[in-house]
Amino acid sequence: MDAVKRRWAPYFFLSPYMLFYLAFGLIPMVFSLYVSMTSWDGIGDKAFVGFANYKYLFNPDSYFFKSIGNTLLFVAFTLPLQMIFGLIIASLLYSRWVKWKGFFQLVNFLPYIVTPVAVGLMFNLLFDWQAGFINKVLLHLGLIDEGIYWLGDPLYARLVIIVMLFWKGFGYTMIFYLAGLANIPKDLNEAAQVDGASGFRTFLSITLPLLKPVTVFIVITGIIGGFQLLEEPMLLLGGSGMGSSTSVIGGPDRCCLTTVWNMYDTAYGSTTRYGLGAAIAYGLCLIIAFFSFIGARFYRGEQE
């Protein structure tokens, strides 16, 4: 009796989680994999199309690779900026020259906790072509003769998104760097100072190398988070006419169409191609898995 009990007891105790995972994790994942191989609008019958949806992702007319490129571009520009600025702010806050550290930590971290919807709308109003604050200031200072069409020009629209993501995200990197700095033993810095190293040399040779695990972590999570980018650009460029340019999905020339936005629009937005949407989601999943794998290898290398 005891032996039987011993055999089923672990399964019994695990069963709530396993059932929960099956119902809300595994089955939806397998189902969406199946959906990605069908042509389905969510209402009619599903027509099995094999890998046609995946093949379409490689079609030159598809926005899949364009959206991957856009997303990578945003990550490539915003992540280094966030890291550099976050590290500078963290170092200043950690130094003995800055007072009211708690206050400045809070001020710099606040943008990160603003909801993405509010961030999108806020920047939308700031950079509005005709009524935006930025153009008003530039016109007032005489730097421009006519308002810049920030959200209607591909280059400027991308620039606004990079500024927006940088503003929102540097507080997050700052917090991690602050935690990393606190973990660096003080005696290493003191020893370097005794040996005559300048503050800058100490920072380059001691602080930065010791912050490498934090940096690797920020890079990995930053890339993964970057690939999930949706709300901010969507609200910025298609915010129901709230001060935006005409509501163009993905912004002018689809220059700001991110992968998740593409998936959302394909499945639930201007078209209802659930099958193609699921294929985009799986494509995105593979890309995120690839970067996570590389990141994990780096991280393991660091640990070893």
């Binding site: 019994f12 105790f13 069963s15 709530p16 059932l19 929960f20 119902a23 609008d41 969510g42 209402i43 009619g44 007319d61 598809s62 926005y63 109003l125 509005d128 072509w129 005709q130 009524a131 069409y149 209607g152 020009d153 129901s240 006419g241 709230m242 001060g243 935006s244 340019s245 005409t246 509501s247 163009v248 999905i249 002018p252 020339d253 639930y268 201007s270 078209t271 209802t272």
Partner: protein, 455 residues
């Protein structure tokens, strides 16, 4: 030892509770669905039985209609209409469920995909109409038990709210549109501010452009005709003589004609580059920089009024090429709705009867019940921005008589989105011409909806 036993028991109890909860939730869902479906079938059958024979319908008194129906809507309650409806049908209750207009189609999709219970009636905003119609989930309202009499609506409503040659939604609020103009500017540049004389001057869009050029020149480039190319595009789109799409086949010559006119407008310089619905576009209504504004029925109340504090500055006229439709909502009954009959009584009362038209007018809504507009006292409507002009008569008699409306399908939504890109590029790039615009549209349509046939 005692404590260990208790820990084990508590762990076991928690595990059992979680398991039971989880299974109950899953099981409950299935049971609910099953029950729902059963009721649904029963409800439909009952309705069919009671409504199947016309004698039954004839005998049924208003008090015999009992129960509650569910409406998905974003519209605030229309208290007068609801009170009048409840007076006529004291035993029918309306349950409003707030759903944002842009979310209705998504919510319908997810409800259907998950096997959930659909409402008895949905409000359909014009921008979502093609998508919801394309889902093929709405009841044929011309068939029993509804037997909608479409002749009591305006002629242009019939095709616009039909699918497969039968009506599947009934329009609720009027959305015919004309163009409004600032009287002082019209007098200054065209020599008159009388609507009928203005209509006689602006016989077509070519004349409109030429007159606009003259006004632009006289004002030293300060005064333009419209604030946005988007305004022009919406008017032109509303005036097309046949639908852009026949199934998946796009009428390319007609689209090219629209693009050519838009480019002509852009090149003439009489249209400014504001984007619609932006703060600057809204503020333009209070200024004196643009002579004209597109003006659907809801425009005086919701756009011109709030943005222009001065009275008696505007007048309303029939646009060159006639009236058009902009916005507006309708109601449809999803297939298998449990209380479809009750929902239909509500639609019939509010949108297809004189009592409903009178009550809705009190709530600020003009319905599509055609007969009501034969009475001049009903159409009479003045608005402070338009002084003493009877804009009701202008909208519902003059403009309505020249209005057309076209059925749309899901491809029109894709085209609308692509047109936004074209408009944006036209506004910012003067070298972007008809050929480039057409190439761009073709490329975008191919990417968004490969089934569209470009001919």
């Amino acid at each position: 030892m005692h404590t260990q036993n208790w820990t084990k028991r508590i762990s076991l109890l928690i595990s059992i509770m979680m398991l039971v909860g989880l299974l109950a939730a899953c099981g409950g869902g299935n049971a609910g669905t099953g029950e729902g479906s059963g009721k649904e079938e029963g409800g439909t059958k009952n309705e069919n039985t009671s409504e199947g024979d016309n004698a039954g319908t004839a005998i049924k008194g208003n008090e015999d209609y009992k129960g509650e129906f569910v409406l998905w809507t974003w519209e605030p309650e229309h208290p007068t209409a609801l009170a009048a409806f409840n007076e006529k049908y004291p035993n029918i209750k309306l349950k409003r469920v707030n759903v944002a207009n842009e979310d209705i189609s998504k919510k319908l999709q997810t409800t259907i995909a998950s096997g959930g219970e659909l409402p008895d009636v949905i409000r359909i905003e014009r921008g979502q109409k093609a998508k919801i119609f394309d889902m093929d989930i709405l009841e044929n309202l011309e068939a029993p038990p509804y037997n909608a009499d479409k002749t009591i609506l305006f002629d242009y409503d019939i095709a616009a709210f039909s699918k497969d040659d039968h009506m599947i939604a009934i329009p609720d609020d009027m959305s015919v549109a004309g163009i409004a103009y600032i009287k002082s500017l019209a007098k200054q540049y065209f020599g008159t501010d009388n609507p009928e004389e203005m209509e006689a001057i602006f016989t077509d869009w070519d004349v409109f452009i030429e007159k606009g050029k003259e006004a632009l020149q006289q004002s030293g480039g300060k005064v333009k005709m419209f604030p946005s190319l988007g305004d022009v595009q919406q008017i032109l789109k509303g005036q097309i003589s046949e639908p852009y799409f026949d199934g998946d086949k796009l009428n390319v010559p007609m689209l090219e004609s629209t693009i050519t006119t838009l480019v002509k407008f852009r090149d003439s310089g009489v249209i400014d580059k504001l984007d619609q619905w932006t703060p600057a576009w809204n503020a333009a209504f209070g200024g004196e920089k643009y002579i004209f504004a597109m003006s659907p029925v809801w425009m005086p109340q919701y756009v011109i009024g709030p943005n222009d504090k001065k009275d008696d500055r505007w007048a309303l006229m029939v646009p060159p090429g006639g009236g058009f439709i902009r916005g507006g909502s309708s109601h449809g009954i999803p297939k298998g709705a449990k209380n479809a009959e009750l929902a239909w009584k509500w639609i019939e009362f509010t949108s297809m009867s004189q009592e409903g038209a009178d009550a809705q007018k009190t709530d600020g809504v003009f319905t599509h019940f055609k007969k009501a507009y034969e009475d001049q006292s009903f159409t009479n409507w003045t608005w402070r921005n338009f002084g003493s002009q009877d804009i009701g008569e202008k909208f519902f008699v003059d403009i309505s008589a020249t209005t057309k409306d076209m059925p749309e399908n899901i491809n029109d939504l894709v085209l609308d989105e692509v047109m936004n890109i074209v408009l944006q590029t036209l506004a910012k790039d003067d070298s972007f011409g008809v050929e480039q615009a057409m190439e761009r549209i073709q490329k975008e349509l191919k990417a968004k909806s490969p089934n569209i046939v470009w001919e």
